[in-house]
Symmetry: C2
Subunit: 133 residues, 2 copies
């Protein structure tokens, strides 16, 4: 793991959350992106080497909508940047972590990503991510 | 806000969580510390410029014990490093954020800290922190 690439935050309204986090972090949102396969609209802000990724569901049955229903708005996941995602997936599988998927899939922000099941990570949804080449 | 200084994770057992996060992050815990006024034992690991702070309650009625009772183990707060905590507290108060306390208080890891109420930050418990001088 090289660094915390981003922290994902589940929000009901991307527009209001962007306004709020721009005030909080005292910096402007520099990108928004729709990720079809995750059913989310995302918005990014930067602080130091880490991004804050705001996540709004595009559909009532999306994973973010269901998260908010269950737990409310708030911290959703941490994403760690890795040098080689397949090597890291193999290492973690070997250590007993449960990976959600056998191969990396496309994520927001030009990344290949893989999630780890929170039941093997103390309740924390962990994402591995690597810039697409 | 200068960077994500640390991410706080609520855990039931610090010992098991340390073992788990050492495997996950592929790095060793470099410090543990008891913070009496917060009723927590903490353990720190580092990835890039950000620390992962594992938090175990020292008492049944501690804030971490109550968090876990309500929401389960997992992501608890994000701490942002600020250049001058009193200036940043004044700026955020002026922007309409609700601060928990009027003056910074001592936190783990030789810091002065102040928390923002999650109801004004989209459900995210936010900490401001600054190295004690």
């Amino acid at each position: 793991m090289q660094k915390v690439e981003h922290i994902g935050i589940a929000v009901k309204s991307l527009d209001s959350a962007v306004t709020l986090f721009e005030k909080l972090l005292n910096t402007l949102c520099y990108k928004t992106e729709r990720v079809e396969n995750e059913k989310v609209n995302t918005a990014f802000l930067k602080t130091g080497e880490t991004k804050i990724e705001l996540l709004e569901s595009t559909e009532a049955d999306g994973v973010i909508a269901r998260f908010i229903e269950k737990k409310g708005e708030g911290l959703h996941h941490i994403a760690f940047e890795v040098a080689d995602i397949e090597t890291e997936m193999a290492r973690l599988k070997n250590e007993g972590f449960l990976l959600l998927g056998d191969t990396p899939r496309p994520g927001a922000d030009n990344k290949l990503v893989c999630f780890l099941h929170p039941k093997t990570t103390n309740g924390v949804l962990v994402e591995l991510c690597m810039e697409k080449k």
